[in-house]
């Protein structure tokens, strides 16, 4: 039970954005995709969701290629709130409920309360931080086996970051497989099970965080500095 990427390549015009990327994100684990800006992290997440085509290799979610079958199984939280600005939050929740049979309204209400969001507000009027919180509601309220998050902490204030980080150890994430990208590795380092470091469009290093801490006595940030700044 996992998200698998095998020798994934992607080109944009004549430039290769991804070159032979191979790794897995297992169910029940939090996998963090780490890399400097422009290394193709977001592109990889989009490719898993079938939002951009790949030119080589294969992507599978529990053995199936990206497509309509995986959208109930994998919830995707992009780096922005993908809801029309005129929609009220209540309408956005209604929209999700209409289309996703994996939608869990009870959990949505719980998350709305957790983030103290007003259902009557329009999406276009939300601040960047509040939009990011609502984005998490839309992603986490699905009873999905996997959650993919692209920069969930971007634009969020310190206190909200802490409450979002709490989610990683809560039942709301629970036994799901999480694949995320973030620049704030330090803040969630203790929740991460596995780190995949991308450099120059390929996997420079992939490791189990606990193992590295035990065997090498290094944190994820230490390894990041070694690999990405080398």
């Amino acid at each position: 039970m996992m998200i698998e990427l095998e020798h994934v390549c992607q080109r944009y015009a004549f430039k290769k954005v991804l070159k032979d990327v191979t790794f897995t994100a297992d169910k029940g684990q939090i996998t963090c995709l780490i890399g400097l800006n422009g290394e193709g992290k977001s592109t990889l997440l989009k490719a898993i969701m079938g939002l951009t085509p790949i030119q080589g290799g294969a992507i599978r979610v529990d053995g199936k290629p990206p497509g309509r079958d995986i959208y109930e199984k994998v919830s995707y939280i992009p780096d922005h709130l993908a809801i029309p600005p005129s929609m009220r939050l209540s309408q956005a929740i209604g929209f999700m409920q209409d289309f996703y049979s994996s939608w869990n309204n009870e959990r949505a209400n719980e998350l709305m309360r957790f983030f103290k969001l007003d259902i009557n507000e329009r999406a276009g009027r939300l601040s960047k931080g509040t939009a990011a919180k609502f984005n998490l509601v839309l992603g986490l309220a699905q009873d999905s086996a996997y959650v993919i998050m692209d920069e969930p902490f971007a634009g969020i204030d310190l206190f909200s970051r802490e409450s979002i980080a709490e989610l990683f150890s809560s039942d709301l994430v629970g036994s799901r497989g999480v694949l995320l990208t973030t620049h704030e590795v330090g803040e969630i380092e203790h929740f991460i099970d596995k780190a995949v470091l991308l450099r120059e469009g390929t996997v420079a290093r992939s490791f189990i965080c606990e193992q590295v801490r035990g065997e090498e006595g290094k944190s994820v940030v230490d390894i990041m500095k070694e690999v990405l700044l080398a």
Binding site: K46, G50, I83, F99
Partner: protein
């Protein structure tokens, strides 16, 4: 099917205000034209009533429509232009702005061709809603005409005459010949699908996509142009020409839909 209908509802709901604005604009402009033209004609007739035999001083609703080409044509041209631009906008609005709704649209657990078909259906609903609204408005305008014109100046006319009096109604919007109606609206539907596929080519291949889209639209235009010019080939019977034309239209439609569905399912990039 259920999710397709939900998507159609979503698209129509998102654009409902545009439709209401176009309807309101049509009502306002046409009513101004109708009242202005009718009053002017009534005043003219009142002035010359004493000089001529009043039996000949009559005019019908169709005459007013015919004399107000600008007032009746302008909202139709505006609506046509807006709906024409909307064929592009209905896709691009999901990519522009900070919300980029395309991210959500393309990860809905339904076949992506449903997104394509729902957007096309929304455009067709808008077009036919405007046509139906125009027909209802004509009925209301005839009623208003009856109220405005004193009975001694009023001449009766059938509804079809009124429709035929405006060049835009007669030539494009509401052709009275049913075959002509089918051909015009059939070509309109084909044009919407062709533009959709061209937009998807651009969204899939970006700069190269613009070139592919232009070439693709030129090929579609060439095929339709060839079908339209078949009558110049004198050695074909009308029935043969009709069969060839329908065949060409169906091939262009088929290729357009297959290509569009493939692009939206496999090649699109958000």
């Amino acid at each position: 099917m259920n999710r397709y209908l939900k998507l159609v509802h979503l698209e129509v709901h998102r654009s409902r205000y545009m439709l209401f604005v176009l309807m309101a604009l049509t009502v306002i402009i046409q009513l101004i034209g109708l009242v202005k033209t009718t009053r002017l004609r009534v005043n003219e007739l009142s002035e010359i009533a004493g000089l001529q035999d009043s039996a000949h001083l009559k005019f019908s609703f169709a005459d007013v429509i015919g004399a107000s080409q600008f007032w009746f044509g302008l909202p139709i041209l505006i609506s046509g232009t807006v709906l024409g631009l909307y064929v592009f906008f209905i896709w691009y609005r999901d990519w522009i702005g900070r919300d980029k709704f395309a991210y959500r649209m393309f990860i809905l657990p339904t076949a992506r061709r449903n997104v394509y078909l729902a957007k096309a259906s929304a455009i067709f609903i808008f077009v036919f809603a405007m046509v139906a609204f125009q027909l209802l408005l004509l009925l209301a305008e005839r009623e208003l005409f009856n109220q405005l014109v004193p009975s001694e100046y009023k001449m009766s006319s059938v509804f079809a005459e009124a429709v035929a009096s405006n060049q835009l109604f007669d030539d494009i919007l509401l052709p009275l010949d049913f075959m002509q109606f089918l051909v015009y609206y059939g070509l309109g539907i084909l044009a919407v699908f062709a533009i959709f596929t061209a937009v998807l080519l651009e969204r899939s291949y970006r700069w190269y996509g613009i070139v592919y889209a232009i070439l693709y639209l030129a090929a579609c235009g060439g095929a339709i142009g060839f079908a339209a010019s078949l009558s110049y080939y004198g050695y074909l019977y009308p029935r043969e020409m009709a069969v060839i034309r329908i065949g060409i239209y169906l091939v262009v439609m088929g290729v357009t839909l297959v290509l569009g569905f493939r692009l939206v399912s496999k090649k699109i990039t958000v």
